[in-house]
């Protein structure tokens, strides 16, 4: 195969510009993708990665700029703007971060969905089946064709997404944060597959903000910042520090946890049992003690009981058996309100669904846990001026950007939304903090900020239960780490005794936690 750049590129973006009101989401971006190349698109949230890909895929129409895709004859063809159908026809396939699969249909049905003619009496299932079988054979993306997609693991569902794109003869494949939901082993497997696909001539655009995987996978890296392409380099000629610097325009130092002595038990779980029910992940005999001034990390792939564990500590769930204790005393009865009053701070897993009321303003969201304090009332009515003053101070202290106090919270970026939640929680000086996936989907700048706040709370003597899928995060912050697998919690071992590779295996059920389950 010839080197890229000497042949006409597979995909060529020129001067792509997109404005939303006064915000310039994409500013004259040029981008080329050669056949067989893996290009990483790196950038903070809000840097314009998603907008750019949405334009490419026809969800948005660019204000200026052109897109050309190499046609079947090797000549570049302009891509008509604003049509996902045209993008698909031109061979552009997209794997979204949140899968777009029909969960109660079979793999085969999902793959052929949309490829058939709408007004047709019959389906040629046999031909589709043969084509898909051949595709699975050549790509090595093994999935049972007739299984219901909902019954597949996350890794398998992602393979279905890939197959869906390839089935339509995609020549350009866009992956939006594909490793966000995978274990390290699953990620490694995905990378092997992607490399093989690229060798077969597929052009791949890989969106991420994990620097390490970008460097290991991609041949070329393009960095976006504030809607501009600020860096484009060969992956071999750069390093993490340079990429991080380009992403945030300032050196990012990830805070480290300094060892410190721990205090009395802040949270104790003894033989806690949660029975499986609709929408409730079971927990089996979970024991855990969390001391003041320490961070205990819970590693594991989502769906293994994290949600229930978080629910217990957040006060939205009660155990069926076993008991919880808060700072040596009985667990407060009366749900979230009682817990908040007793000094439990809760950072929910799903910011949009549980963390903020999107249609309420920033100041209202900052008051969501404290609006009913007597100090917040004057003559029986809420003292809104005091709410606003407080919000003003908190926005400054926690660096919440992206709008004034009156801005609806839904307009905030993920990082700023998380800072809002942190501000609300930490301002009450909690002694126990639940942090469920606190940096999921955040860019490195916001991530460092969240880590800094959590470590400050730890230094203050708070006990923190950190539930995360990001092993780097656990290894950076947690004093001890335990693995949750199928509702069973392994022993919480000090960080120094933990190997990353071993942790990955335990998360997949091959280790102490998994052995118990068998």
């Amino acid at each position: 195969m010839t080197a890229p750049g000497q042949e006409p590129p597979l995909l060529r973006l020129r001067g792509i510009t997109k404005r939303f009101g006064s915000l310039v989401a994409n500013d004259a971006i040029d981008l080329d993708l050669a056949q067989g190349e893996i290009l990483a698109l790196l950038g903070e949230n809000g840097a314009g990665k998603t907008t750019l890909m949405s334009i490419l895929f026809g969800h948005y129409v660019a204000d200026a700029g052109t897109i050309e895709v190499m046609g079947a004859d090797g000549a570049p063809q302009p891509l008509p703007p604003g049509s996902a159908r045209a993008a698909l026809a031109a061979g552009i396939g997209m794997v979204h971060q949140h899968f777009t699969l029909a969960m109660n249909h079979s793999v085969l049905d999902n793959v052929i969905l949309g490829t058939e003619r709408l007004w047709s009496w019959r389906q040629d299932l046999a031909a589709a089946r043969a084509k898909l079988a051949a595709l699975i054979e050549t790509t090595g993306l093994a999935v049972p064709m007739d299984a219901r997609v909902g019954s597949l693991s996350i890794g398998e569902q992602q393979r279905v997404e890939l197959l869906k794109a390839l089935y339509r003869s995609a020549r350009v494949l866009i992956l939006d944060e594909p490793t966000a939901v995978l274990t390290p082993q699953q990620s490694a497997l995905l990378f092997t597959t992607l490399r093989r696909l690229a060798e077969g001539g597929l052009g791949i655009i890989f969106i991420s903000h994990k620097l390490e995987e970008v460097l290991s996978l991609a041949r070329r890296v393009a960095v976006l910042r504030h809607g501009r392409k600020v860096l484009e380099v060969a992956a071999t000629g750069t390093d993490k520090a340079r990429l991080a610097h380009a992403m945030v325009d300032r050196p990012v130092e990830l805070p480290k946890a300094e060892p410190q002595p721990v205090g009395a038990p802040a949270l104790e779980l003894e033989g806690v049992h949660v029975a499986p029910a609709a929408g409730v992940e079971p927990l089996v005999d979970v024991d855990l003690t969390l001391h003041a001034g320490e961070i205990v990390g819970i590693a594991g792939v989502s769906g293994n009981g994290q949600r229930s564990l978080a629910g217990l500590v957040a006060g939205t769930l009660l155990p069926d058996r076993g008991r919880l204790r808060l700072a040596g005393a009985a667990w407060p009865q009366g749900g979230p309100k009682a817990l908040i009053a007793e000094g439990v701070g809760r950072i929910p897993e799903d910011r949009h669904r549980q963390g903020v009321v999107g249609d309420m303003t920033i100041w209202e969201n900052l008051a969501l846990e404290g609006y009913d304090a007597p100090a917040c009332r004057r003559f029986g009515l809420l003292d809104l001026a005091s709410f606003r003053r407080r919000a003003q101070a908190l926005r400054k202290r926690y660096d919440i950007r992206g709008g004034g106090s009156e801005t609806p919270a839904r307009l905030l970026s993920g990082g700023n939304m998380q800072k809002l939640i942190l501000a609300r929680v930490l301002e009450r000086g909690p002694r126990l903090i639940l942090a469920a996936q606190p940096t999921r989907g955040l860019d490195i700048g916001a991530l460092a900020e969240v880590h800094r706040h959590l470590l400050e709370a730890r230094a203050r003597g708070a006990a923190i239960l950190l539930i995360s899928e990001d092993l780097d995060e656990l290894m950076q912050l947690a004093d001890r780490v335990a693995v949750l697998y199928r509702g069973r919690l392994g022993p919480a071992r000090p960080r120094a005794e933990i190997e990353l590779a071993r942790l990955g295996l335990e998360m997949a059920g091959q280790g102490p936690a998994g052995a118990d389950a068998a």
Partner: protein, 348 residues
């Protein structure tokens, strides 16, 4: 052409959009007016004159607006919390029934206490009637759209039974109507020699009270949070059920008050045709007002004006007054469109 979400709608647009929607509705309805053989500009001029042209017209419009404000508030506060109370019509009749039961001397109380008691009894009757649907929803998850809607028919039949039974006026010669309200139990006139009564003041006060409750009380804060994101509200420890129950009671009370105004201020006695669908129209009022309690006042006056004006116009040039329903319905649709425009930007 495609829609892209706006970062923030300008205040100017928030005012212009509903006005534009009302205007667009009138423009669209020019077509059926013309088809009915009317001179369109003349018809609209007559409508305007009939609703706002004279002192009398204005008082008529306001008289009609009073119950619409209250039923509009009933819908607005409930819908804010995503409690779909479609039963304002029934709650209105129950409010009227309670007002009549207290205000015709059925219950012996001193005169000066009678009017406050009538008002309280009416509000209470409407509120308590919401208990059933609210309980069914909170306890068993029964859809309140169905229960509140169906309970309207129960109330109407019950009112009929009472009007032909214990509450029937002995002097009515067999007509199903109640005894007249005592003078002490009646709302005073606001303007002499017109039908405009003190019920309008009651409605305006209720609108301001509702605004205050929604914007400045703990309950209001909770109801907005529950309505906008029940999951986050629950996570923050807001007792969703208690909030919903209070909303249900508040909503029912507003509708009940509408019934009080109609019997104690306007008609003076209860019949089965007290309300020409004010309860249902309240939903339209609230939707046009985008669920804002103060905007409910404006939207109720607009709708009342359309109805009063269309009545007067149809008398003058013989176009059916059903055109009013058409205009209001069209305004509802254009308003939804306006809501879209304030939230999204239309680009090429």
């Amino acid at each position: 052409m495609r829609l892209e979400p706006r970062q923030q709608a300008s205040p100017w647009l928030n005012v212009a959009a509903p006005l534009g929607a009302a205007l667009l509705a009138l423009v669209i309805c020019a077509l059926p007016l013309a088809l009915a053989g009317a001179d369109v500009p003349e018809a609209y001029r007559l409508m305007l004159a009939g609703s706002l042209g004279t002192r009398f017209a204005i008082t008529e419009t306001l008289t009609r607006a009073a119950p619409l404000i209250l039923t509009g508030l009933a819908a607005a506060i409930a819908f804010r919390a995503r409690l779909w109370n479609i039963g304002a019509e029934g709650q209105l009749y129950l409010g009227a029934l309670a007002a009549v039961a207290v205000g015709t001397g059925f219950v012996p109380v001193p005169g000066f206490l009678l009017l406050p008691l009538v008002v309280v009894a009416g509000a209470l009757a409407g509120a308590l009637w919401m208990l059933g649907p609210a309980w069914l929803r909170l306890r068993f998850g029964v859809d309140e759209v169905v229960t509140t809607l169906l309970s309207n028919f129960i109330v109407l039949l019950f009112v009929g039974m009472m009007l032909e039974g214990p509450l029937q006026d002995p002097m009515s010669l067999g007509w199903p109507q109640s005894a007249p309200m005592l003078d002490e139990a009646s709302l005073p006139k606001l303007v002499e020699r017109t039908r405009l009564h003190f019920g309008l003041v009651l409605a305006l006060a209720a609108a301001i009270l509702t605004w205050l409750v929604i914007q400045r009380t703990r309950f209001g804060f909770e109801l907005r949070a529950v309505g906008a994101n029940p999951d986050a509200a629950r996570f923050a420890g807001i007792a969703e059920r208690r909030v919903m129950l209070k909303v249900a009671l508040f909503s029912g009370a507003m509708a009940g008050l509408a019934g009080v105004g109609e019997v104690a201020g306007l008609k003076g006695y209860l019949t089965q045709d007290l309300s020409p669908g004010y309860g249902y129209a309240g939903i339209v009022v609230a939707t046009l007002a985008q669920l804002g309690p103060v905007s409910v006042i404006a939207s109720a006056i607009f709708i009342a004006g359309v109805f009063v004006g269309a009545d007067s116009m149809s008398r003058a040039i013989g176009v059916s007054s059903y055109i009013a329903n058409l205009i209001v319905a069209t305004a509802l649709l254009t308003m939804l469109l306006a809501g879209l425009v304030t939230r999204y930007r239309i680009s090429r």
